[in-house]
Amino acid sequence: MQLTGAEIVMRCLHEEKVEYVFGYPGGSVLYIYDELFKQDKFKHVLVRHEQAAVHAADAYSRSSNKIGVCLVTSGPGVTNAVTGIATAHMDSVPIVIISGQVPTAYIGQDAFQECDTVGITRPCVKHNFLVKDVKDLAITLKKAFYIARTGRPGPVLVDIPKDITNQKCEFEYPKTITMRSYNPVLKGHSGQIKKAVQMLLEAKRPMIYAGGGVILSDAAERLTKLARRLGYPVTNTLMGLGGYPATDKQSLGMLGMHGTYEANMAMQNCDVLIAVGARFDDRVIGNPANFSAVPRKIIHIDIDPSSISKRVKVDVPIVGNLPDVLDEIQKLLEASAGIPDPKALAAWWKQIVEWRGKKSLKYKQGKEVIMPQYVIEKLYEVTGGDAFITSDVGQHQMWAAQYYKFDKPRRWINSGGLGTMGVGLPYAMGVRFANPKATVACVTGEGSIQMNIQELSTAKQFRLPIKIINLNNRYLGMVRQWQQMFHGNRYAESYWDALPDFVKLAEAYGHVGMKIERPADVEPALREAFSAKHKSDLVFMDFLTDQTANVYPMIAAGKGLSEMILAEEL
């Protein structure tokens, strides 16, 4: 049967079992929206700004491992979406973006709402396509989903000119797809895996460094099994939180710029390091020269060969899909009679426990002013550690990462790579669509929340009972912290004048607002917000917090892992 391009788009989305499309209509996508109106297999979520559509689709994917889909119009629809696409790209999140384009004959004519979508998005997608013939539409969408989810995942954009959506052709959705130019490796090199196992067993001061790849590839269980068998310490990156249970005794917490003392010291002083789905980025190891100044053997497992030996030279590179490689390592370990050197391991743990004794995350909560760390600790208690937590970007993000102990993967949703302020609320929306019964809290600040505050309207329309934890210190806190530490206390444009009354603002959107000003009120307010009474409500909790609180420990940009600044040293 002959179908129009718009009908084909619907059929492809149905074939891909898409549940939600996050989008915003406009001129170039009107035929597509017309078909969308006639079907009921998936729901459309109308956001209030295209950026939020992409963020929501991104979080839908992060919290479920299903592909998030968004639909935007040409020109400003796409340019608004770019921040969302770049955010997903930096964190390797599989999403598919369908964008309208001006009719084929108008391309290049500076038509109304025209932009070079493929050109603008090229550096921030895994791949993109411009569909020039309706006959290519189905296979292009098939490729888009395939490319997005396989290998190192990432966003794929399909740009469809308006005339194509109204032209007809036979529809057939390909069952499988092969591309001669794209064949991601799955199994790791067996020789390298053998070497890695040998190296792991010979380690005296071993360390497991687990990143976002563990979450993305659903390898958390396997990693945990392996770590427990070996009895080695584990640290997680910001993107990897939940990849190993934070409450486990082998967990050293997060490492990096705001990582724990024990994690960073162990990372620096280990003799064998196994990096699992992590990429040694600047916020993790700081200065690579400082990191490499200490000799250690490095095993690096990653699905993306270009992540290996990019910033740090490694000894045993293993390119492959993490679950497959971890299974292989586990098998070899079980087959070999070798066990880690118990004496050396005991000495290493003794050292780590000593580092732990620094209690690098301690802070003081007085009676007058609410400490932001305290709010997160109470949030953890009140939600039983079992909520999905989204965050924006800044100090609150680091405190959430430090003080909320994630035991499960896909519970911690934040923008690690691009560091996009404004993701928190749309992320919470996406999480809730993917997990309709889950408790979802968005930890944010008064700066970030205002970057996508319009989504309070979407949250109302779809009755999303998100709990917003606004750590309001009347400053762009992380900027203020850097200005204090590195720019002579000159707080250039980091203080907020004329903040809105967030309680009234929440109420204006039809939600519940709370203002919390005293430490004693923190826990009761949280208990109320998360109680059955507000089961169906979005509750906006505006916590007025200490204005001078800084995130510690801290490694200044360009410094090494062992050059941490601790709170107590100031």
């Binding site: 090229r122 895994k126 490319i147 001669r180 993306d304 060969p305 270009s306 030996s309």
Partner: protein, 163 residues
């Protein structure tokens, strides 16, 4: 170090910009880049000359391989290979210079492919240093225009880059 990287890439619109965009985005250096379809019209072949440390060249080949449209990547300079570049030079050739220009072109095995009463266009192939040497050998003031294709390269003997 100087490397010659050969790429087979799907002959799609925008293929060139994916490659050139990658180089500029990651601050890799391009000395020259040539591209044209192959005997299989669905594929283009590119030759890129780049300089960088071994680590940088390793990243370049890995990042190129990561592009979805790229089918194969080879660092030709890793083993025996041949490189050639084509140059067209328009020179003033009048009076006593006319004979001298012809003589030098012959020495370099160049061919004169366009003649007017006062100019020649000389076609010259070879590696880059040979073309440079030719330009050094003739009187600079007589050069009206030069155009070079950039390097094309191919492996020697059994080294074959094909799908």
């Amino acid at each position: 170090m100087r490397h010659i990287i050969s790429i087979l890439i799907e002959n799609e619109a925008g293929a060139l910009s994916r490659v050139s965009g990658l180089f500029s985005a990651r601050a890799f250096n391009i000395e020259s880049l040539t591209v044209a379809p192959t005997e299989d019209a669905s594929l283009s072949r590119m030759t890129i000359v780049s300089t960088g440390s071994d680590d940088v060249i390793e990243q370049i080949t890995k990042q190129l391989n990561k592009l979805i449209d790229v089918v194969k990547v080879v660092d030709l300079s890793e083993a025996a290979h041949i490189e050639r570049e084509l140059m067209l030079v328009k020179v003033r050739a009048a009076g006593k210079d006319r004979e001298e220009m012809k003589r030098i072109a012959d020495i370099f095995r160049g061919r004169i492919i366009d003649v007017t009463d006062s100019t020649y266009v000389i076609e010259l192939t070879g590696n880059g240093s040979k073309l440079d040497a030719f330009l050094e050998a003739i009187d600079r003031t007589l050069i009206l225009e030069t155009v070079r294709t950039g390097v094309s390269g191919i492996g020697r003997g059994d080294r074959i880059l094909k799908v």
